[in-house]
Amino acid sequence: MLGRFLLALAGASLLWLAVGPAYAWGLAAVARAAAPVTAHAPGMRYEVVGSRVHVVRPLGPATDRPPRELVYIVWAASSNFGLPLLAALVVATPGWSWGARARALGWGLGLLTLTQVASLFVTFEFWQQMPVPEAPGGLLYLPGHSALGLRLVTPIFYFFEIMGRGFFALFIYFASLVALGGSGRPASEEQGSRGLARRRRR
């Protein structure tokens, strides 16, 4: 299984490099649609640069020339390897039919995409709450900032940023193993387990 997993991970990672820009475009479209609810100040815009989603936030009045803008990276394909990881795990799992793999990929990547959307919103909120350093040694607090808001969103941001990269992919994979029948069980037990699930649905 390990050899197949490594091969699948290499393939999925290369595919992720190719698909990243389109995925970023899709996430940016979702973020733009939600902007009236998530943005604390008018004038922000989402831009897709390669396989990254940027938020451009005006800092001063619109009449400023040149306009003062702040750019955050709120999502990058290079920092989100959960999707190729999950795809590789599903492809490498022994004992699954291709139909089961397709179901696991469909559900898994769909759910993982929801966590990516959540991650993007959390990152967006974190940067809205974070004060901006201003010379000399000052801090600029942007509209919507609150000390409590920053304190609440910071650990959630770091969870998504650091732990979330692998956590969600593994959790969804483990759940898929349980839902579809894990690898390594005797075939008769697998069939019995799936039959039981079907009977329950009826």
């Binding site: 290079s78 390897f81 795990l89 969870f159 650091i162 732990m163 349980v178």
Partner: protein, 166 residues
């Protein structure tokens, strides 16, 4: 049929406990782990300089910064593998087996993750020195994928060793 239902119940419990332990390990590392994380970062910088020295590359470490030949990197949270170890520990902790087996899994897996992480930092330093163009690609893409693969391989390797006796 009851056995299958019982087994599925245990499997779902594993998923739930994994999720809870994953969040808990993050919470512990995030809130109370700072002195440990800083010490670990300094240790990794020192070890990297030592390995580079062994490879014939003159290198030094100052705090969490390791430098060689005009190229330097700072070991930060994402470079010390401690959160990846937390993730691995959550998966080991959630698996229904004896405490002794879990302790063995944590020690061996932790050692592997430490060694792979050291190899990651050393290789990135070498790339930074001799092939700077490949540094970012390797840092962001290659090693991230390899590290996830290592965490997963460690866990599956541990589980597969347990299963014949389970």
């Amino acid at each position: 049929m009851t056995d299958v239902a019982e087994r599925r119940r245990r499997e779902w419990r594993f998923c739930l406990v994994f999720a809870l332990l994953g969040v808990a390990s993050f919470a512990v590392l995030y809130t109370a782990g700072d002195p440990v994380v800083r010490a670990l970062n300094r240790h990794i910088a020192w070890s990297t300089a030592l390995v580079l020295g062994g490879l014939g590359i003159s290198a030094g470490a100052l705090g969490a910064v390791v430098s060689a030949g005009g190229f330097a990197v700072e070991i930060k949270n994402n470079c010390n593998a401690i959160y990846e170890f937390g993730l691995y520990a959550a998966a080991v902790g959630a698996y229904p087996t004896s405490l002794r087996a879990k302790a063995a899994g944590l020690v061996v897996g932790g050692g592997v993750l430490y060694a792979v992480n050291l190899a990651r930092v050393v290789s990135l330093m070498v790339l930074g020195l001799y092939a700077r163009d490949w540094f970012e690609v390797s840092h962001l893409y290659v090693w991230q994928a390899v590290f996830f693969a290592t965490v997963v391989a460690c866990w599956f390797g541990w589980v597969l060793r347990l299963r014949p006796r389970a």
